[in-house]
Symmetry: C2
Subunit: 423 residues, 2 copies
Amino acid sequence: MNAEIIAIGDEILIGQIVDTNSQWIAKELNKIGVSIRQVKAIQDTEKVIEEAITDALRTTVDIVILTGGLGPTKDDVTKQAICNCFGVEMHMDPDVFEANKRLLEPLNYEYTKVIQQQALVPSNAVALINKVGTAPGLWIAKGGQVIVALPGVPSEMKGLMLDKVLPKIQDSFVLPHIVHRTLMTYGMGESKVAARISDWEEALPSVIKLAYLPSFGALRLRLSAKSKDKQALEKLVELQIEKLRPLLSDIFIGFEEEGGIEASVAKLLIENKQTLATAESCTGGNIAATITSRPGASNYYKGSIIAYTAQVKMAELGVSEKLITEHSVVSCEVSEAMARGIQKKFKSDYAIATTGNAGPTVDLTDKTVGVVCIAIATPVGVYSEEFNFGQPREKVILKASAKAFEMLRKEILKKDEKLFVVS
Amino acid sequence: MNAEIIAIGDEILIGQIVDTNSQWIAKELNKIGVSIRQVKAIQDTEKVIEEAITDALRTTVDIVILTGGLGPTKDDVTKQAICNCFGVEMHMDPDVFEANKRLLEPLNYEYTKVIQQQALVPSNAVALINKVGTAPGLWIAKGGQVIVALPGVPSEMKGLMLDKVLPKIQDSFVLPHIVHRTLMTYGMGESKVAARISDWEEALPSVIKLAYLPSFGALRLRLSAKSKDKQALEKLVELQIEKLRPLLSDIFIGFEEEGGIEASVAKLLIENKQTLATAESCTGGNIAATITSRPGASNYYKGSIIAYTAQVKMAELGVSEKLITEHSVVSCEVSEAMARGIQKKFKSDYAIATTGNAGPTVDLTDKTVGVVCIAIATPVGVYSEEFNFGQPREKVILKASAKAFEMLRKEILKKDEKLFVVS
């Protein structure tokens, strides 16, 4: 079972937006056993869309999913391109017409001529009613292949995929089972890890594919396999993971499918019934936003003070002016004082603090752009380290955030050992 | 001048990562006058890569840019696919070999056999030395067309693009000028805006293309045009913008090329020499992270308290227990108290506060999931509003953040009027 995803819209081709729709669709299709042959982003002209559909249908692909170009404005031409492609006309779909009328009524939105035309659909298409927008999805079956067209607005596309398209695909095709398991490691480069696991990799059954995925100090190892026999497949992959785990014991931090390093930290804190607070300067709320983007954060996270000025660091976190003058605001000493300050103030068991120059210019300190000091306060002490994350600004913020989670995780795991030393 | 971008890697096709590289490359190429014909993501097997290169070269495309598959591990096969494609062998490039040796020495990184092979390049390629990684870029010229292969790690790809590839493209081709201008509007739907500007749109010269780009309560209108005559082109587009602006005066908030709504707020505050602080509950630091992701935020932004618990709201923001009991923690009253609390504490001119249920579960309040109260404290008062942003959690956080910036912007612009009323 293979699919091709085609995103329509010049905004992708000129780099104005990142095409997150295709990634989301790929992930959802994969979960139900559909492999993605390729993902394409194309121009939004009738001719280009028509060619892309024709090219895709010429391959052995089973499903073609188009997104975008279904809006009411003149730059939206996907429906016309579909008509051209199959030599059909558009007709007014009465169910869509009524559904759109009902959708707009409570919003006091006028049902204008332009919006009424949203109910025009190619005559060979089944219209899939959109609960949150006026553009219906389209499902066209032709000689064993299926073409699906969805609006480009992510919430509308997602609603239609979950409610209509995925169930229809599961009804229409016999699907295999796909397994992906991704081991996350921290603190060792790709080639060193590859050298360490080379014997294991050589002996890997050919049905399992291994990929190395490096990013921001982390390296993910993904094992992928596909089969009709779900149980045998899962057993085979688990067996290989059992063999691999001992080779990575010092750098393995969890499975990506169970969330990233922040999920691993969240799990540990919830298990230990402990809490966390953060004090951020250069990361500017990114650590807090990462933590709170996960449901259930309120079970262990107390909050943060984003101390973007020296004044706030002193007044709110109890950092002394003397410490700042002596060591500069970007220093391990200040980061430690910030971590202890927020830990005390928010009455948390653990605390993360960051201070640094994200750049591009150096403000008020003698430290180079990219230098960040990170401190972790624990129930038994405080630990800090200075890093140089280079440039650009965005990377400094992301790397510092990832490193802070990594340091915190290590300290939480050290807990028993430390308590022993102290007592 | 046309290019095709091909991203190589199963991690894109299974939806494990979003392909941000292609978006960045598209944007940079566009700036120097190269249009993107299409963007593709493909599987990382030799056969598929070879076919994708061959297919692209068969079209009228001038440049093909490949990313990914240049690492040292066994799953990286782009170089071999290029050799197959052109019937050439690999040879050891002495400059790359030496550059990689110099790169690794100060890092105390062993120059293993595996890493040495990073200097093997197809014999028809010019190797482009990578300053931050061991995988060189490759530049292959063939019959008027150029194939460029770059590593998939974003920082390495970007370094090579900026230092080597973009200058080489500018040297090798005569490039036209491309203009994109994107007007950002807030608070009116796509079809209403379309109806309002339809006369203007009908009269638009055919050389200018208009696109409607809706997202999170905002609607962007993008005008695009391409020509060899830079001055005439810019004049033509500006003339159309002058005609369009008066039609949008109540909803226009700025040009996207000058940054989003947060840039518009930053500009106003810096011009007025005023400051901002934030107190976030349900947005969990996302507003702070958005503000501080822009360089120069320290010129007007004092910081934030992320008050994720009622305890922190009371202790740090001075919200009274009575207010929380009477109105619930998710209420306009509490959001106003939070905004006044942070404004006073951080001595800022303006403050934003958010409190709500991002979901998916309702914690400790009687309010529905998706309900968010946002308050703006100004030098002369405080204003709040309750919204229902629906679900999922991610959308609630993003919509609440965008709405907070929109409300703040309105209050800043009202300033003169308000001061007048008060005095």
